[in-house]
């Protein structure tokens, strides 16, 4: 989905529409979930570049800043994260960071997503069988 970094405008259009359909119409999307989880694990060090690096480090794919910030806007509109502009630092050429904090509602939404994925995956061939059950 939106993890494809930079490509043709057509791809961007298709991506944006797919993102919208999944994330707004149905439930927390895969990318929204990645973003919330990365932000939650970074705690008070969560901002644009650090979240992007975290997602890169865990999934091996680098998302575009455009995908990251438009998704962040949507999450903020839904009340799942809060963002604010922090102080500028020298290694950023004196630019401010947009800091991110996951709200309790965001934590709940992420837990629901995880719950749904776990539930729907039960019995799938790629999921390890639970231990301890008699056969």
């Amino acid at each position: 989905m939106s993890l494809v970094p930079l490509s043709s405008p057509a791809k961007i259009i298709v991506d944006a529409l797919a993102d919208y359909y999944y994330n707004v119409s149905i439930m927390l999307g895969e990318f929204e979930y990645l973003l919330i989880t990365a932000a939650a694990s970074l705690a008070d060090k969560a901002y644009g570049a650090s979240i992007r690096d975290e997602i890169d480090a865990t999934t091996g794919r680098k998302c575009s800043l455009g995908a990251l910030y438009t998704t962040l806007d949507r999450l903020e509109a839904k009340g799942l994260v809060e963002t604010w502009m922090a102080d500028a630092t020298p290694q950023r050429g004196g630019r401010s960071k947009r800091m991110v904090r996951v709200t309790p509602k965001g934590v709940q939404a992420a837990a629901d997503f995880y719950d749904a994925v776990t539930r729907v995956s039960r019995g799938a061939s790629w999921v390890a069988k639970p231990t301890g059950s008699a056969s």
């Binding site: 944006a16 570049a49 039960r122 059950s133």
Partner: protein, 562 residues
């Protein structure tokens, strides 16, 4: 100013600051950085179009209204050239038409401005393209070309006001709308009704915008009439029922033959004739049978589980099966009454007769908490033809654990009690007395009506082997496995769990022994030891009911009669 900074002007100031900083920090090459910014800008523009407003503004209003208003501008200009200024009637007509043009254009512009916002450039283009087209084809020699664009002046004014976020007062909007509508109808200008409608709707849109949304919604609901009552009918309901039982008339201790229950009916229940599976619930007897609903908002949690499709719609019955000493242990006893028969012969048929149930074992489940979990598993063992799916939350009474059972109660109290109330003064002894009344009852021995497992002989405690054997045989679920293994194997689903940190380790060890013994007998089941204390928030959104019990029933119950 670098090309990067110029490209960044496409972004909003706040995004610009953050993105330029991020790019600087991650040492992107300049080309890649510019691509990143363009990607962001394109995404942002595209996202604006996921809303209906810009589409309506640009292609529903700006584009077609531009054509119509140009035509009307030319018509007025022609009228102006032919008007006799001494004729007040003609003059009045011209003034009216000019007023109408201004009104249409201004309201149209206002609506485009307030709907477009960040896509205003597209709306502007949509309005100006027809203008360029007509300007290039203009061929009326008696008129200057710019007559075509008469409407633009009030339109731009309207756009500015609308774009600025102003809203019209409600009274103003209504007066304006009535005026313009009346003038439009009076003028009967050439053109179809669709054209008229296209020019009028923005003024009524203003009226709608000026009103409070809730008022608009109320009007809409009032018009639809049935909508609010429909909405009420779709909520879940909690109904209290009582059932007079014939199974307690022989009891030796006072048992209320009128048993209470609370029944949860899922959203949409009364509006449909659909039939639903039933989950019977045996709450912990340490609290009232409806405490989970009254104190822990079980209703919201069940609603939530249905809402998130954790489980399809179901009926949930929580029933009071307590005796004066606490738990009935869900058995037929010559002292406390026939609780097992009450459940199987009276309660289940009553629920099936009075509610829209799927009256079959495949669509019936039973769950319980603590002693209630004991009951759920026991009913599953003895009546798999009634309950097809079983879940026990932290069951007790499953086995002997490590402490020797007879060391627990106070034998002085049990031996010398003059009434039930004497026993109730000691919590642990009360529990054991309820166990003895259920499993080793003796109707000949008032006031407790129990056989004593042990008796005091001076300071020594003498254990009665025969009573102990009878107790173990009747009481422990583990002891019942050999006899009921085939029944348990026939269940659609069987699960229990226990909290690792129950301060009474006997409960933990007994459950570990129970799952092992079930495995010995090849009984399929799930058994989870979770990290927690017994009763910790079973009914919270992170509690076992939501995370495990309801999903389990969701998987194993049959939700339709097909």
């Amino acid at each position: 100013m670098s090309t990067l900074q110029i490209a960044a002007l496409l972004l909003r100031p706040r995004d610009r600051e953050a993105v330029l900083g991020d790019l600087e920090e991650s040492n992107e090459t300049k080309g890649r950085a510019i691509l990143e910014i363009l990607n962001f800008a394109i995404r942002q523009q595209l996202l604006l179009w996921t809303n209906w407003r810009p589409w309506l503004a640009a292609f529903g209003l700006a584009l077609p209204a531009s054509f119509l208003l140009m035509g009307f501008s030319v018509a007025i200009s022609l009228k102006y050239t032919t008007t006799e200024f001494t004729d007040t009637r003609q003059l009045g007509l011209l003034a009216c038409q000019a007023l109408l043009l201004t009104g249409w254009a201004w309201t149209g512009g206002f609506v485009v401005g307030s709907l477009s916002r960040q896509t205003l450039w597209v709306s502007t283009a949509a309005a100006l393209l027809p203008c360029l087209f007509c300007l290039s084809r203009f061929s009326i020699e008696s008129l200057p070309r710019l007559c075509l664009l008469l409407f633009l002046l009030p339109a731009v004014w309207g756009v500015r006001v609308g774009f600025g976020g102003s809203s019209v007062t409600r009274h103003g909007a209504i007066v304006l709308a009535i005026l313009i509508t009346a003038l439009t109808l009076a003028a009967r200008s050439p053109g179809s009704q669709i054209q008229t409608l296209l020019l009028i709707w923005p003024t009524w849109f203003l009226v709608a915008k000026a009103r409070k949304a809730s008022v608009a919604a109320m009007v809409l609901f009032a018009l639809l009439g049935v909508a609010p009552s429909q909405a009420a009918a779709t909520d879940s309901q909690l109904v209290s029922r009582e059932l007079h039982s014939r199974n307690f008339s022989q009891a030796k201790i006072p048992i209320d033959a009128t048993r209470q229950m609370v029944v949860y009916l899922p959203p949409g229940y009364s509006a449909s004739s659909q039939r639903y599976p039933v989950i019977y619930y045996l709450p912990s007897p340490f609290d009232t049978f409806r405490a989970d609903f009254d104190k822990r908002d079980a209703q919201s949690l069940l609603d939530r589980a249905i809402g998130t499709r954790t489980i399809d719609k179901f009926i949930f019955v929580s029933v009071d099966m307590t005796t004066p000493l606490g738990c009935s242990w869900y058995v037929n006893s010559s002292v406390t009454g026939n609780w097992e028969d009450f459940m199987i012969q009276e309660l289940v048929p009553y629920i099936d007769a009075n509610f829209q149930t799927l009256p079959a074992r495949d669509s019936r489940g039973i769950a319980g908490d603590f002693m209630g979990a004991y009951g759920a598993i026991r009913f599953g063992m003895k009546h798999p033809d009634v309950f097809g799916t079983v879940y026990g939350l932290h069951p007790v009474g499953t086995g002997s654990g490590v402490q020797v059972m007879y060391t627990r109660p106070n034998w002085d109290v049990l031996t010398n009690a003059k009434s039930l109330d004497d026993v109730k003064k000691n919590g642990v002894t009360t529990i054991f007395a309820s166990i003895y009344q259920a499993h080793v009852p003796n109707p000949e021995k008032p006031p407790l009506f129990i056989d004593l497992q042990a008796q005091k002989a001076g300071d020594r405690l003498v254990v009665d082997s025969a009573v102990t054997e009878r107790l173990r045989h009747n009481f422990f679920l583990e002891e019942m496995i050999p006899q009921y293994a085939a029944n348990l194997k026939s269940l659609r689903g069987f699960k229990f769990d226990w909290a690792r940190n129950d301060s009474n380790f006997d409960h933990v060890y007994s459950n570990q022994a129970l799952t092992r013994k079930l495995n010995e007998f090849g009984v399929p089941h799930e058994a989870d030891e979770y990290n927690g204390s017994w009763g910790d928030g079973n009914w919270g959104p992170a509690g076992r009911v939501y995370t495990d019990v309801l999903p389990f029933f969701g998987r194993h119950l049959v939700f339709s009669s097909r």
